[in-house]
């Protein structure tokens, strides 16, 4: 039988494989450095910009939220609830199947994002110019 040695994951890498692995590592390292940028807390406060299937929502000035506020956004799958407070934004509840957006936690720095792909909600923090 084809599995007489068991489903043992022995494998050898060829020269081309090492090249591909090196290339992928190199590209991701390059992108991490170039796209990562600086992630400092800003002096002028933060703005939350939300993009949904209906278009741009906001901007919401984080400093104006004295206490945590729930914002609801409708998408193709259902409703996504963002909790906005002065310190940051997090996805409180979402009708998407995978809940990746909820696991992203709280974002509090410029450039950080919360994305819910199934429900098409893109929340992004930008610096107040």
């Amino acid at each position: 039988m084809w599995c007489e040695k068991g489903l043992w994951l022995v494998f050898k890498l060829r020269k081309g494989d090492r090249l591909v692995i090196g290339l992928v590592l190199l590209v991701s390292a390059f992108l991490l450095i170039s796209l990562g940028g600086r992630r400092k807390t800003s002096y002028h406060g933060l703005i939350l910009k939300v993009k949904t299937a209906d278009g741009e929502q906001g901007p919401y000035y984080l400093a104006s939220f004295k206490e945590p506020t729930k914002l609801q956004f409708k998408g193709p799958v259902g409703t996504s609830v963002l909790e906005v407070s002065a310190s940051g934004v997090r996805m409180l509840q979402s009708d998407c199947p995978d809940k990746v957006c909820i696991h992203m936690g709280t974002i509090s720095k410029p450039g950080e994002m919360i994305i819910c792909l199934p429900n098409m909600v893109f929340a992004r923090l930008v610096e107040n110019e």
């Binding site: 022995v10 494998f11 050898k12 890498l13 591909v20 390292a29 994002m113 199934p118 893109f122």
Partner: protein, 198 residues
């Protein structure tokens, strides 16, 4: 197309749908949108390796369309993501199978996984007009590396399985419709001999 090949391709398509459905139930411990093991990709690679580009594209596109109809995501955002990813990764895996590149099964699979991510992000960007999602590309590429290596080994084992079906043939004739990939045979990652036939 012989009945045998038809049945084998149908089996591979079913396998792809099942793997894709099962995979959706496995939670990914990363907060990364679109990070998946991509088990269905190994089925695409095995088809590409054992049959041809045309068959691999047929199997993979049927897999996304039927999978979309079953899960109810047909013609939604997620469907377009998986459709474009499947098409692009199959094409680029075929290109990467060129023997001059000296890749093995796992290397080709890593190429497929990386291209899958790239195509999905590009499609997502075109639909949502949100270029900032490319911030996730390096993380997705880093995740594609182990996933691709694993899928390559899986496709390798799947190839053994497909070839061993031929040995149970009643007439025992050589199968002419198989292993006609234009670039020749993709080397295996394991130490077992590459042909299942004695």
């Amino acid at each position: 197309m012989s009945t045998k090949k038809l049945v084998e391709l149908a089996m591979l398509t079913g396998m792809g749908i099942a793997l894709h459905a099962v995979e959706g139930q496995i939670p990914v411990p990363l907060s990364l949108p679109g990070a998946k093991l991509g088990l269905a990709n190994s089925v695409a690679l095995a088809t590409l390796r054992e049959f041809s580009l045309k068959d691999a594209i047929t199997v993979n596109l049927l897999r996304t369309i039927l999978g979309g109809l079953i899960s109810g995501s047909f013609l939604t955002f997620g469907f377009f993501l998986s459709f474009s990813g499947a098409l692009a990764s199959t094409l680029f895996m075929w290109l990467a199978m060129d023997p001059r590149l000296g890749l093995s099964c796992s290397g080709v699979s890593v190429v497929g996984a990386a291209i899958h991510n790239l195509a999905q992000l590009t499609t997502a960007m075109m639909i949502t007009r949100e270029p900032h999602i490319f911030v996730y590309l390096p993380y997705l590429l880093l995740y594609a590396l182990p996933a691709g290596l694993f899928n390559g080994v899986l496709a390798d084992k799947l190839g053994f399985a497909i070839r061993s079906i031929g040995r149970w043939d009643s007439n025992g004739e050589q199968d002419t419709e198989r292993s006609n990939t234009p670039h020749g045979y993709l080397p295996s990652n394991s130490e077992r001999p590459r042909s299942g036939k004695q």
